[in-house]
Symmetry: C2
């Protein structure tokens, strides 16, 4: 097992390797922007599908909607440029909301972030499979399976300890950026040569009239183009000095690239009157329209898939980071702190992948079905972070604070309105699931924190005299299911720590009791045997009841020590055949503490089976 694990996942990494290397701006852009840049892949698709219902009339609203989203992008960029100034150590939504708005908004932002990381991975993977299946139509019906295969690859890569911020990641990112920029430039050239837009080639039946509701609905879905904008302000620490300056410059470059890609692709789609077939994405149809169906088209689709894979992978960086912050603030089990056991970090990766795979399967590998869940969390985190920044400037009042406050204030108002539009127009489509999950997560965070806060004084040694008082001679009870070598070994151990040992046997089949008693006369060497009847065929209950009873009878303020013989079989699967009762007793003592007290010492005496 452990050899297989090492072969598949590589050697463990020592702690001193966890320090991040600083990146120049070109590499930093590649490391922090994949989520933001790749989101045009699904946002374009959403705008197209949303307007398609209203036919050609509807599709003519593509560019206006894209312009509105670009305006929102500009506002968000200016807002996050402020955040970079205020939080040079990295200001994620959780940190900003917690420090400026308080505990509850911080937790809401954290819950929204965790959910968004899961959805980013699911949406990116499904959009990526749709991109590649547009180039190879035979893959289209297998999109769910394909998405799961890609998820498996990402999972294994992360369990191996993938280093996300390097040259390796930069390749797909710049491949994507340059192939799209080239396509848009070429398309613009063709548009200029060909003159006014081509007329609609085919009739496109409208199933719905074009209404304000339909436009707002489409705008909500299209806003997913903005996911990932905040990544640079979270990751300032990976920039070279001067960090803030470099980060702001990179943020500006990223925003311009996002704007050009979004407006360029949507503008050309509308200009050429491109319509996608039922088994193709609109971006693929656009590429086919511009560069034809040959190798360049396939190249663009592969580049789209690759950047979406990198984007999905960013969740495997972000999810543990937010978990770590939450665990340090006691809102999550401390095992989720990133410097914990490597095994625990692996559990986090597996958990994330499991959640993503469930989403992919439930929503049939279709990014369009996942989008309604996506936008709410994203804009909730945006809004809380912006409001937090407004409060931050109001409190701090440094030089030029009024301007900074206005920038973030505009950002807060715009994102809040967008959040409202998204939440209302998508509520029944799936946004309610996310709203419910956020409430549940916030309650869970608070319950965990409450527990840890109460734990500290209970464990504190203050007020205790530094001296050891070993308890007097222990009463020991040995539970046995029959007279065999395992029991004799356990009995020997029990006798080595106490001379007050009792053996208890639960009578399931009264016909066998006499035989047990006779055997005990030979092997028990005078240690008293108590036979407990069990009319309900339960083993666990009678043993625990017997322990309670002897404690009451002795009334010495102590709980008898319970000794259990256990088998250690040769092969792992054989554990299914043994020790079930011992496990059930342990679980009962852990989970039914009201009934069975809880201070009882349990001793496992293993007996090794060699064959």
């Amino acid at each position: 097992m452990s050899r297989l694990r090492e072969l598949l996942l590589g050697h463990p990494l020592p702690t001193f390797k966890s320090g991040e290397t600083r990146l120049d701006n070109v590499r930093a852009l590649a490391a922090l922007s994949p989520d933001a840049l790749s989101s045009i892949a699904y946002a374009n698709q959403e705008i197209y599908l949303g307007l398609l219902a209203a036919g050609w009339v509807g599709l003519n609203f593509s560019l206006p909607i894209a312009l509105a989203i670009a305006a929102l992008l500009a506002i968000l960029t200016l807002s996050y440029a402020q955040t970079i100034l205020a939080y040079p150590a990295g200001g994620g939504s959780y940190t900003v909301a917690k420090e400026n708005l308080g505990r509850l908004p911080g937790l809401i932002a954290a819950a929204a972030l965790l959910i968004d990381y899961v959805l980013t991975a699911a949406v990116s993977l499904t959009a990526g499979t749709a991109a590649i299946a547009s180039a190879f139509p035979s893959l289209w019906p297998q999109r769910t399976a394909l998405a799961l295969v890609l998820l498996t690859i990402i999972t294994v890569a992360n369990l191996r300890g993938l280093r996300e911020s390097g040259t390796l990641v930069a390749i797909p990112v710049y491949l994507f950026v340059f192939s799209y920029l080239a396509m848009i430039a070429y398309g613009l050239g063709r548009a200029l040569i060909e003159g006014t837009g081509t007329l609609p080639a085919a009739a496109l039946p409208a199933t719905e009239p074009i209404t304000v509701v339909l436009i707002l609905h489409t705008f909500s879905s299209g806003c997913t183009a903005l996911t990932g904008v905040e990544a640079i302000s979270n990751g300032i620490t990976i920039f070279k000095t001067p960090e803030a300056r470099n980060a702001r410059l990179t943020l500006a470059v990223m925003a311009v690239l996002m704007g050009v890609l979004l407006l360029g692709s949507i503008g050309l789609t509308q200009h050429f009157g491109v319509v996608a077939g039922s088994e193709e994405t609109i971006l693929s149809a656009l590429a086919r329209r511009i560069v034809g169906s040959g190798f360049p088209h396939v190249f663009i689709q592969v580049a789209t898939l690759l950047i979406l894979l990198v984007a999905a992978n960013t969740s495997y960086v972000g999810f543990p980071r937010v978990s770590d912050l939450l665990a340090k603030d006691l809102y999550l089990p401390h095992q989720l702190s990133s410097l914990g056991d490597r095994l625990v970090f692996s559990n986090g990766i597996v958990l994330l992948s499991a959640l993503v795979s469930v989403l992919i399967v439930i929503f049939g590998g279709d990014s369009h079905a996942l989008i309604p869940l996506f936008a709410v969390g994203v804009f909730l985190a945006f809004t809380l972070s912006q409001i937090g920044m407004v409060i931050h400037w109001w409190r701090l009042r440094g030089s030029g604070w009024q301007w900074k406050l206005v920038f973030n204030g505009v950002g807060a108002i715009t994102t809040a309105i967008t959040l409202l539009v998204v939440a209302v127009s998508k509520f029944l489509d799936g946004a309610w699931i996310v709203a419910l999950l956020i409430v549940v997560l916030v309650f869970a965070f608070r319950a965990v924190e409450h527990h840890y806060r109460l734990l500290r004084p209970q464990l504190s040694l203050s007020g205790l005299q530094p001296s050891i008082h070993p308890p007097p001679l222990q009463r020991v009870v040995l539970a046995m299911s029959g007279v065999h070598r395992g029991v004799i070994k356990a009995l020997e151990f029990a006798c080595s720590i106490s001379d007050n040992v009792t053996v208890v046997y639960v009578e399931l089949d009264p016909g066998k009791t006499d035989h047990i008693r006779q055997q005990w006369l030979i092997w028990g060497q005078g240690v008293p045997l108590v036979v407990v009847p069990s009319p309900y065929r339960s083993v666990v209950g009678p043993i625990l009841d017997f322990l309670e009873q002897t404690d009451r009878e002795h009334d010495d303020g102590q709980q008898a020590v319970l000794v259990m013989p256990e088998f250690i079989p040769r092969h792992g699967w054989q554990n299914l055949l043994h020790n079930q009762t011992a496990w059930m007793i342990r679980v009962a003592l852990f989970y039914q503490r009201r009934k069975y007290g809880s201070g009882r010492v349990i001793i496992d005496v293993p007996f090794q089976l060699d064959r």
Copy 2:
């Protein structure tokens, strides 16, 4: 929790109540025949759907196929009448095959039986929902959900300890029998009055020609009408004396009823030229044709649903019974023996329900999709049992053995041919899944038995001197994660059983080690503290390695005892926040015995958290 369990599931039942009461023949028929009688519900549907592909021409083969199945029924009935004589204590396929054919055929029969119990429940539930949805068409799209609701009801009823063999069960069975007999009689009357069969009302396009393959395929599916025929020969012990005579009489009555229901319903369907709509079963369409769409039709559909529910419930009797037989023969974990802990029996019920629900969901709540899996196992068990009986008579040679051998021989040959037809014609439709599962189960049975067989000599006390040698003074190692009250309590316990105690601390964050050492100077009272570095942030590995190392250094042939402080939190869910490392250490010692030895005693010293 335990109060909720009691409210939902009722009080546990004491052992002395497990003796079965003897039933008169009327009640015994009701207790043992639901599976057999209700199977016309899905068998009819299969014959209809199988022949429908060939249009009117095909449907005219319904009655011939039904006659072939009735002939098979007669042969099987005669065969099982012999089994009743030979095995008055109950001769299930497993027992008969094991005793007469040997170990491997017995295990194959047992695997087939276990799979069939799961499929009986799944097919009966889905056929039952189809029956009721035929009366209330709005339920048709919700059949999967409805089947799962019914499954939940059956599960809860069984967890409560439903008594299957009583008057309560007799009501739905006789309701079904009499409503169908009345319908068939009324239908025959109408057929006589109306004269020759009505001509086909509508054209029925044939998508396939009528071929031998199509007929054999339909015959295979229709053979599911015979499931449950063996139930009476398994349950002879519930009859009053003379058991064998009563059982044979009841078997004859059941076979006649099955024949009348099968031939009557199919004959009338063919005579009236009944065709079902896409959201209705053929039996429902027949009832509608004969008694109209009013209350009588609804009544018949409800009666069909009820008997199918009772049939599904028979799996909850049969599955544990076969598991018990296998566990007694060491082929399954002994916890599955029926007199084990009630909890384990409940686990069996929950396991069975989980498997059934998976089948219902995967196959979309459609009994037609499940049938290809069903017939193979049924006929495999039939065939093995019949061949076993032939061998039985050949060996025994009592009075008139030749005739008995001939009866069972004909049965064996017929069922073997049917098995071949079923397996070949249904292989790609799903029979391969069952074939594969049977192989896997047989291997699992053998592995379990092998393990138990090797276990006995290892545990045997023979050759051992009856005397207790408590090991000398124990070396004790206490693993701690920090200096707190829980550790002090564990230390006190450790000092009470040994004066050779070492405390081990795994250094995850080197910055904290000095503080720990200083605290230990105050609280450790001279007990030595060993700090183990952990460059890979693992806790479990370094502790286990340290234990190995001290054992090697001391070289006294003993393994140090490991003491672990554990928290017992107030609420069950808080266990998620604690004791993870202790559990991981335990699992590592259990499952990595090659690496970490296996004889080490583990002591849990719990510390109770009150808030």
